[in-house]
Amino acid sequence: MPDMDDAALLALRHGSEEDRARLDRMAEGDPALRDRLAGWDRQDAALHALYDPVAEEPLPERLTAPLARPVDPPRRLWPIAAMVAPLAIGIALGWGAARWTGDGEGGADSLLASAIRAHDTYVVEVVHPVEVPASDKTHMTKWLSKRVGQQLTVPDLTADGFRLVGGRVLPDARGAAALMMYEDDQGQRLTLYIAPEPRQPETALRFADKGPTRGVWWVEGDLGCAVVGDLPKDRLKAAATRAYDQLTGA
């Protein structure tokens, strides 16, 4: 089969054992094909010669350290972790507030940092991801609005594949903040963090990131909002835009 194109040959070469055996048989009576295959063998040999040494190096500590950390504490520790976490956030925020400069960037940094910290703390929660479940949405909305001090809307993100899990109140440097958690069918979680932001200039949607968690934030009225999730930028942006539209009544 001298006319087979590279793609078809490569499908065999990188296919099942059967495919490879078939290719070998084809090459037996076909010197031109043997040449083509040998050329690819040389390419692969060159890639191995070039890059295999990296795989033989000792692993750097920064890659092994995260694996040495206990990643799955026993269940019974979760309630304690849940109690301690808001305290830690409060302390961290106290420090963060010192850097509060009043300009858009300084405020944003603290808002997003708080939102990301809250996200990272609660999305891993299996037992108590929220204080009030979505089944109690009316109560949750009233309660969060009362604590944050403004009538809040709980955005409906089902069009983006996210259903509400529920919400909780968190301490923020400027008062009580609301955290709403959403989840998609794959268990991917998204959080919306809403905190008082008095006297901050309003902003359009801004995208920022830190580590593997990403956030979109904005300030509207006296509220700072941030949508945080480990999602592709487009998807995060779409969900954030929908939340923004519903929260600002656009």
């Binding site: 194109d5 590279d6 793609a7 078809a8 490569l10 499908a11 990188h14 296919g15 099942s16 050329g39 690819w40 040389r42 390419q43 692969d44 040999a45 060159a46 890639l47 191995h48 010669a49 070039l50 890059y51 295999d52 990296v54 795989a55 033989e56 190096e57 692993l59 750097p60 920064r62 890659l63 092994t64 995260p66 694996l67 040495a68 990643v71 799955d72 990272d120 891993v124 299996v126 794959q186 268990g187 991917q188 990131d209 580590g211 593997p212 480990d230 592709p232 930028k233």
Partner: protein, 167 residues
């Protein structure tokens, strides 16, 4: 083996792959570190169906694509280049330095695909699932990558002619 142990067992090939893909030591280890952190934080999403290695490569490549989308400039930096061993010019070996340079000129999606099968030894099916493209698409992409590589490493025509136009 525990989950972290299984990840650790995959680290050598993830590092090799990340380096071959990014061609910069620090950027490669940043990418692998990111992959590890992400895998640990999302372990509840790993359902244990299929090899963990494939899941890790998928995370790494998603991250790689996100990084490129977000910040193309930062990945275009000229990295700490390794000095690849130079082969002795026998005809049955390719010039390694030339291959390394040529790999750098391949479009990233072609480089990513070729390295999965050519370096990591994955089957077309496995690589297609990781890259989330149909096998036929991947086979064509591999064909283009190998043809490009062949052209740039002086095996398909007058040696050096093409190189001169690209540098």
């Amino acid at each position: 083996m525990t989950f972290p142990d299984e990840i650790e067992a995959c680290l050598p090939s993830l590092r090799r792959y990340a380096f071959a893909l990014l061609r910069n030591r620090d950027a490669a280890d940043d990418l692998v570190q990111d992959t590890v952190e992400r895998a640990l934080s999302r372990r509840h999403l790993w359902r244990g169906d299929g090899p963990l290695r494939a899941w890790l490569f998928r995370i790494l490549l998603n991250r790689f694509r996100d990084d490129r989308r977000r910040d193309r400039a930062s990945l275009a930096v000229v990295g700490t280049m390794i000095e690849p061993p130079v082969s002795g010019g026998q005809d049955d070996h390719l010039d390694l330095r030339e291959v390394h340079e040529a790999m750098g000129r391949l479009p990233p999606d072609q480089r990513a695909a070729l390295l999965l099968v050519g370096l990591e030894g994955m089957s077309l099916g496995e690589a297609a699932r990781i890259l989330e493209v149909p096998e036929g698409t991947l086979a064509s992409r591999l064909g283009r990558a190998r043809a490009e590589l062949r052209a740039m490493t002086g095996r398909a025509g007058p040696r050096g002619e093409r190189k001169a136009t690209e540098t």
